[in-house]
Subunit: 283 residues, 4 copies
């Protein structure tokens, strides 16, 4: 009796580990296949939510879409439960970024029983597509991504300072344009003017609101040239940080020092110190 | 009697210093709190002016907005007076950038008694939001900001040359488009054509004016591709300057000093001080 | 009899080689002339297809355009056959990029007998214009192009990661805008909203769809500023890669070689060869 | 008699030189003043042509504008004659860039007697504003401008290759969109579609033509993201060239070599070689 339970438990443990490897890992064939199928289903489910919002398609294929969405939701629910069950530290998973995304991906469908229309929120499943990075990561992406991350992280503070500055400029110029152009040209209120100012500064330029007075057009021209000029600032920041991250990574990867004169050896293939001629050990 | 006055004066002096620390400093808890509350009130006041310009909201909450604005204006006035009174060199403050901004932030409300509609100018208070940089500066922003400032300062002349060149091109091409397109397509005068040309060169593209003739569209295409190409110029300038500023700062931070003359050694491989010839220890 | 055949064969071989040099080479006067004439005819044929699509011109010059296109198609067919015949390895040519382009350039005209309207596909001939690179290549372009290619190749992975990320953001924000703005403002379905989101993020901004609600305009402003900020990412990537490619090429061109083992010496200050330890002469 | 002529000739020569210094030089007070007044008149004359094209203003101030333009034209003519007369090599001036610009700046007004409406061409005077660079050049601009010129010159070939590539892509995608969207959406012909494609690729986005079919919108999205990505290419090119030009200029200005070990001395203030400790001569 005791032995049977022990055996059952150990069998369960083996099964748990097998499932864990399939679901979380990507090194085995089964794990890789699971990842690819999952990615396909996620893509399909995002596509379905998108198509459902197209009135013509929804009218035609309503029941087909509905049934497909329920099938997908149920498989996602099963997958979510399996992920919790086969994980040794289920709580870590549940409160991780992907854990939360997985949970709120299945929630809207069940909520739609109580709150009609909430099914539309299923589009949040698109966040699950970020898993692709995780899958590719294991192959050869790590270096690339970490370089990108480093550069973006380093330039974050500067970009925030820059955006804050752009917002203050937009508020001031928005108010000025509101006073100059008035309600006839579409500048109906200061918030609308600020919206127009951001549209212009970022060179988007919808044209739903556009200055018509001469003074307004002159100021608009100045804003545009300003926007044209200051687009250089975030670009300059990111580029400089990226170049630095690239340089640093290369240095950290390849450099060694000469044991006799401590000169830094930049060249990967170097066998002798370029400074003192000392023979270098191969790494 | 004399002692009482002296004591009063010294007490006043102590009070003045205490207020000074609260208003101008950010190292004490009270000073930090004051800064945060001030920033909150400024944000609120800018928001109020913005919302007042929205007709629907103004109709509904007119008296509420008006009273709030008066309360804010009076507190700003008190703050302004306190800043003058507790400062040892009041004139320096009054004619400083922030002193002038603080003054013209409260002016429009009082002017609105004599000139109706001038209250709208209160939006200039948005400039007070720049104080945020001052507050954050004291923590850890200095390096970042100074790097940005240096890069922008260094590229200023080049950007002005560039903008001047863009303006001449716009005048010439604007006149050409005015001749080609004529008044039917919206190119009603040379200034309007120049405005269109700037809208196109900066890739904003409102679409309120657009070429309709074939020749006009060909020239417009050329202007666009030109604009696409020359956007690279300011970006290149700022990026190069920024990278240089970054490199310099890094040098200042990381380089070793000569032990005998304390000159900064920029060159990593240096074995002798370039200033006094002292032999340097290897690191 | 046998001799005649052998002579004929050898004469044919000589002719084949002569034609080969004219068609494929650009070192001889005839080869260069052939290339230029071919380029001119390609340009002309692309122009013809373009003009044919303009209704007014087509009505006026229909038969002229039709005859010209048939003349061009027949000369292209002859050229295609000659290219196959005079090439020693005809299959390599047929399945090369240019071979396929050459074939599908002549196909649409012959297909137009069976499928009316397919003649429009002749515009694919524009791809033949890429031959210009081949022609110029032989003069002095190689360095430039390879630098460009290297930089684009190196940044490809990062750009794909970036585009994938932009698409996920567009799907999420598109769905959000669809819910907020509703069908009245033109956001008729999630795919349309995603289209609008990409139009805004890339700062194109047609204005055919534009937010009208306050909340929608606030979110649109955020998207624009975000787009303004993230345009810096691909620019930063390409610039950094390009600068690196440029640096490397410069190294390859300017650096000295070790006299004993001919390894390239990257380091300007090197006094010993890093590969064989040979002492280097100072330049 | 002979003496009088000689004296007259020598007096004329002195006068010629004096005028030459005033007109061509900017080192004397008179020369500087002349330059500034000339620049002011050029600006005024460009402004006049611009304002004349505004119908309302022209109706009101027609005779005033006409008289002013004649006064300006006559002074420009006098200036042009003086420039020829006081120059030792008048032909060099006449056929220089500025000589031709000066000539075609005065031509349109005289032509307007024979060809009505040609007066509008006076806007070409805007090119005379380029003289500002010449004036500033003499003070402290040289370095800046030459750096810009060098970077633009170096990236010219690459930018042309890039633009050629963009054009081929635009032709192909323009034809594709013409087939997909058809005449109802504004894609009336292939040239119009190509125009739309350039408008989209360069992120200008007028919105006068915009895709309405689902497939058209998907392709348009791809074009936009492509445009967003390839805007990085010219930026990367110019930035890399600019950084290189900056680096080279700095090196050329400041570097010396150590006389004993020939190491390059990067540091301007260096008094001792950082490599071998040799004392350096001051420059």
């Amino acid at each position: 009796m005791f032995h049977t339970m022990k055996r059952l438990k150990s069998e369960y443990e083996i099964l748990r580990q097998k499932i864990y490897i399939v679901i979380y890992g990507s090194n085995t064939v089964a794990g890789r296949l699971f990842d690819l199928i999952l990615l396909g289903i996620i893509l399909l489910s995002v596509l379905l939510v998108m198509l459902e919002s197209v009135e013509k398609l929804d009218a035609k294929y309503h029941s087909f879409i509905l049934i497909s969405e329920w099938i997908i939701t149920i498989s996602f629910t099963l997958e979510y439960l399996l992920r919790i069950l086969c994980n040794k530290k289920p709580l870590t998973y549940i409160f991780s970024f992907y854990g939360i995304v997985d949970f709120i991906s299945i929630l809207p469908m069940y909520l739609s029983f109580f709150i009609p229309g909430s099914r539309m929120l299923s589009v949040i499943r698109a966040l699950r597509l970020l898993r692709l990075f995780g899958i590719l990561n294991l192959v050869h992406f790590t270096g690339q991504e970490s370089q990108l991350k480093l550069a973006i992280k380093a330039s974050r503070t500067k970009i925030i300072v820059f955006v804050y500055f752009v917002l203050i400029v937009s508020i001031l110029l928005g108010a000025v344009m509101y006073v100059i152009e008035g309600k006839e040209s579409g500048f109906t209120s200061i918030p609308t003017s600020i919206y127009w100012c951001i549209v212009t500064l970022t060179t988007v330029g919808y044209g739903d609101i556009a200055p018509v007075t001469t003074l307004g057009q002159i100021i608009a021209s100045c804003i545009m040239i300003m926007g044209y000029g200051i687009i250089a600032v975030p670009t300059g920041i990111v580029t400089a940080e990226f170049a630095a991250a690239k340089r640093n990574q290369k240095f950290n990867e390849t450099n060694r020092k000469c044991p006799s004169c401590t000169t830094i050896i930049y060249n990967e293939d170097a066998r002798y110190c370029h400074h003192c001629g000392e023979k270098l050990a191969h790494e």
